[in-house]
């Protein structure tokens, strides 16, 4: 079980950005877009066979040519003053039947990622994912920031469109970050490394969708570039988010009117201004989600046919 580095560049004050697939691939799309736009170079990889079952076998003329595993690669980019290391994984080392990393394998992988961070002198780690929120897909997704040390809070309060857990009604600053996004924060804390998880809001009714949500990825990317002090062309991700929103609008338009009425209430909730007559009860929420789930299951079946 190990790390394979292709090169060992001297990096100046690097920070590490890590991401994995998750709900709407919000973090993955954001961080990978940044990596691509900055044209980061390959740095190394975590050998996958101890963590993952292979994805694909290639057989040609009766001979097994290759077995392809999920990739877990490191990249680096030198920027003005603050160099970047990216860790981009195609899968989380999940236990059978689970979507997110947990258990010994997840802990081992978190430590391997941090080993690379420490080797190159990283003082700070970012992870990124989705925050399931009572918001509407027409609203601008906010970015939830969760640090692993209280000393980071004042800084995070200064970024645009960024909120802390305590800013979200009813949470009292508490919550849960599943999978490696959360685990890496915790392991970094025990190893004395600053870490922040940056999460883009995804509407509660889209959480179970088998589709990307680039609108939230764009919000994450805006915050990340602000924090890192790098500038990139946002037109690709903006176009992607617009196309995605049109598709969601189309599906939304086909929802039963009662479900739509209920979901429209989320526009008010996300503005933190809920009047007595517009509040969504637990019963409403369950009915809305059941309606949406039924609707989209039907849609997926039709696609398959």
């Amino acid at each position: 079980m190990g790390i394979k580095l292709y090169k060992e560049p001297d990096l100046e004050n690097p920070v590490l950005l890590a991401c994995w697939p998750g709900i709407g691939n919000v973090g993955l799309v954001a961080v990978d877009t940044l990596r691509r736009m900055l044209e980061a170079e390959e740095l190394g990889e975590i050998e996958p066979w101890d963590f993952f079952y292979p994805r694909k076998v290639l057989i040609r003329n009766g001979e097994l040519k290759d077995l392809i595993f999920p990739e877990n690669k490191f990249y680096f980019k030198r920027t003005e003053g603050k160099d970047l290391i990216f860790f981009i994984a195609e899968e989380q080392p999940a236990l059978e039947g689970k979507a997110y990393a947990e258990g010994a394998k997840a802990y081992q992988m978190a430590n391997l990622v941090l080993d690379v961070a420490v080797k190159f002198g990283c003082r700070r780690i970012f992870t990124s994912g989705a925050a399931i929120a009572a918001t509407h897909h027409t609203m601008r997704p906010r970015v939830w920031a969760v640090p692993n040390a209280s000393s980071l809070i004042p800084e995070l309060r200064g970024y645009d469109n960024t909120i802390l857990m305590s800013d979200i009604e009813g949470r009292g600053g508490e919550g849960n970050i599943t999978g490696l996004n959360g685990l890496l924060l915790g392991v970094a804390r025990t190893r004395g490394i600053e870490a922040i998880c940056i999460m883009g809001e995804i509407p509660i009714y889209l959480q179970g969708f088998p589709m990307l949500y680039p609108k939230a990825s764009k919000s994450v990317l805006e915050v990340l570039t602000q924090i890192l002090g790098v500038s990139i062309d946002m037109s690709d991700i903006t176009g992607f988010a617009e196309r995605s929103e049109k598709e969601i609008d189309r599906l939304y338009g086909e929802l039963p009117s009662e479900a739509k009425e209920q979901l429209d209430k989320l526009k008010d909730i996300s503005q933190d201004k809920i009047s007595e007559e517009r509040i969504i009860t637990e019963e409403d929420k369950k009915r809305i989600l059941d309606d949406v789930d039924r609707f989209f299951r039907k849609d997926i079946k039709e696609d398959e046919n």
Binding site: Y53, V57, G62, L64, L67
Partner: protein
């Protein structure tokens, strides 16, 4: 070795080198297990080692099959006279890379592995009467050359379709190649409607190849009796359910059945060809 993961030897057979044959219990149509059990019985192979399930298998309860509680097992048998080591195992649910390496480590603890073969069934849309060939995938050009001397299909082109994963046999071949062990995965096509009832033709063909490859000298006439019995059952079933004959004729002439016809064929075969059922 990782904590909690271990194996136990019951004896240490003495061999200069061996061919390793591996089958997985969850195999399509139980082809691998049926073949291995028959070979083990005929060769009087001796159990010499077992991998402990902890760390590889789900241990939160037991699976019940045919009214009997099962338990995951990975057993190693040896037939020194034929220079064979035979592994009969459930497919692990975790730590696959470690498991496959352990499988090779245990065998190499006895003697160097000359070559490795996995045996498995493959569901196809052919009729049981259609002549079939064993299909082989090698993990090296050298092995491909060896295989081409036999009556096998050795020109497969395949890529795992999206949403599926490679088989454990392919994974084992890859691990073996990394350790410079040449190997082949043998796949026997089986008609989809005999997956549950079993396919003695497929068993016979596979044992026949192993007989030839390793000079085993095993009597395979027992499979002819089974084939005969199955033919009779299917004939009686065709007399009783007239559509059955039409389904089989279509398959014999490479005409696809509708989904409904497929379902009916499977239903009839499963209902009437089971071990204890007589049409």
């Amino acid at each position: 070795m990782s904590e909690g993961i271990s194996y136990k030897f019951f004896s240490k057979p003495k061999l200069n080198s061996c061919s390793l044959i591996v089958c997985w219990k969850e195999d399509t149509g139980r082809l691998g297990v049926s073949v291995i059990d028959y070979i083990n019985e005929k060769l009087n192979s001796q159990l010499f080692c077992e991998i402990e399930p902890e760390g590889f298998f789900y241990l939160g309860g037991v699976l019940v099959e045919d009214n009997i509680a099962q338990f995951p097992e990975s057993k190693f048998y040896c037939c020194p006279e034929k220079k064979l080591v035979i592994v009969r195992s459930n497919t692990p649910r975790a730590e696959w890379y470690k498991f496959l390496n352990m499988l090779l480590d245990i065998t190499e603890d006895i003697c160097p592995i000359k070559d490795l073969y996995t045996i498995g069934g493959m569901v196809t849309l052919v009729a049981h009467t259609t002549p079939r060939k064993l299909l082989a995938t090698a993990n090296s050009p050298e092995m491909n050359t060896v295989l081409s001397r036999y009556d096998l299909s050795v020109d497969l082109n395949y890529e795992t379709p999206s949403g599926q994963r490679p088989t454990l046999s392919s994974y084992l071949l890859w691990v073996a190649r990394r350790r410079n062990i040449m190997g082949a995965a043998l796949w026997m096509p089986m008609p989809f409607y005999l997956v549950s009832a079993g396919d003695p033709r497929a068993y016979k063909k596979t044992v026949d190849f192993l007989n030839f490859r390793f000079n085993l000298g095993i009597d395979i006439s027992v499979f002819d009796d089974e084939i005969h019995r199955q033919n009779e059952k299917i004939a009686r079933l065709s007399n009783r359910f007239l559509e059955l004959d039409g389904f089989l004729r279509k398959l014999e002439t490479n005409i696809n059945l509708t989904e409904e016809e497929n379902g009916r064929l499977v239903q009839l075969m499963e209902e009437y060809l089971g071990k204890d059922n007589q049409p």
